[in-house]
């Protein structure tokens, strides 16, 4: 799906936990996430902390979208 969106001409960032799969599939902008069943959350945190964590990840995704890349790039912390 990520490739088809890219092919259509829209920059896309893939947020996922198992980065090697994303690399194999061919995503160009990748943001690693927390865990498979809750990529953008962590149920062991309280609600406010969890939302802050999610916001941090989404902000990183937005930065990735604003960053020029020539090749597959993983946006770590």
């Amino acid at each position: 799906m990520v490739k088809e969106i890219e092919r259509a001409g829209i920059p896309v960032v893939h947020m996922c936990t198992v980065v090697p799969i994303s690399l194999t599939v061919g995503a160009n902008r990748i943001v690693p996430t927390i865990a498979i069943p809750h990529p953008l959350g962590n149920p062991s945190l309280d609600k406010a902390e969890e939302k802050a964590l999610r916001r941090g990840l989404v902000e990183r995704a937005l930065e990735a979208l604003e960053t020029e890349v020539d090749d597959q790039t993983v946006f770590e912390k």
Binding site: V12, P37, H38, P39, L40, E59, A61, L65
Partner: protein
Amino acid sequence: MSKLRVVHYINQFFAGIGGEEKADHKPEVREGVVGPGMEFNKNFGDDAEIVATIICGDSYFNENLEEAKAEVIEMIKKYNPDMFIAGPAFNAGRYGVACGTITDAVQSELGIPVLTGMYEENPGADMFKKSVYIISTKNNAAGMRKAVKVMAPFAIKLAKGEEIGSPEKEGYFSRGIRKNFFAEKRGSARAVDMLIKKLKGEDFTTEFPMPNFDRVEPNPAVKDISKAKVAVVTSGGIVPKGNPDHIESSSASKYGKYDIDGVMDLTEETYETAHGGYDPVYANEDSDRVLPVDVLRDLEKEGKIGELHRYFYTTTGNGTAVASSKAYAAEYAKELVDDGVEAVILTST
């Protein structure tokens, strides 16, 4: 001759420990066979036997790749095996990646022959088919008997260091290795034969298949995300509560498009996941954990993004054929373009 010693790796599901709710199961070792190991032992006859089975949850392995790899290798070492087998994993993505990762690591760190098996669309196949032997299997566990029937004798061959035939003959995915041999006819004659078949519209087998590099160049970055219309898409199966379009929990035959105009937060009462390939508890409690609508609304309000697109697109990426996902996305990507979407966040579980 004494039997060859085999260590077998399986996931929590095939060990009978549990499904997705147990996918965080840490590696454990049990003496002898567990689950599909019985079928292997039956096929091994007097040549080999499984001396130990290592069980690890699929999510645990994939979320802790390095630790899991090290732990499992330590466990295997103790049994001093002649051969290591993982799976088969069929079309289970995380299981396939685990099988590929661990066979690859055992081969390079312990120097013993290794084997696994999976379906061709399993992401683990593309990732590891060059480094380890992977037997091609069906896409679900109904193909167990057939898979083991091919894997067991092949494993014995590998362990005994016997000559390995071509991928077509043995049933493994081509590793891209070339081997010299004497053909009966010279190259020009073979090429003409092929050409004649092609002209007649008959089937022919190329001697040099072109590799399939399906890569898409990255698009230029978004100039100013604070002005851009951003859409969210997910393969994590988030749907309005009740799953109105009945998107299947695996092998999805469709995708959904849902209006989130005015939706500020995905709550337990309003959204859930239809995905059957991960423990749904966390996503059902709060779907923002998969599709971050709450945070994007905040960012929209604060002017950090121009606008959150009115619709999100969703499907379950669990066992869904690559061709289907490709078709779904090609279709909705066109809509996204027409709707003036300038950036997409795609989340996966």
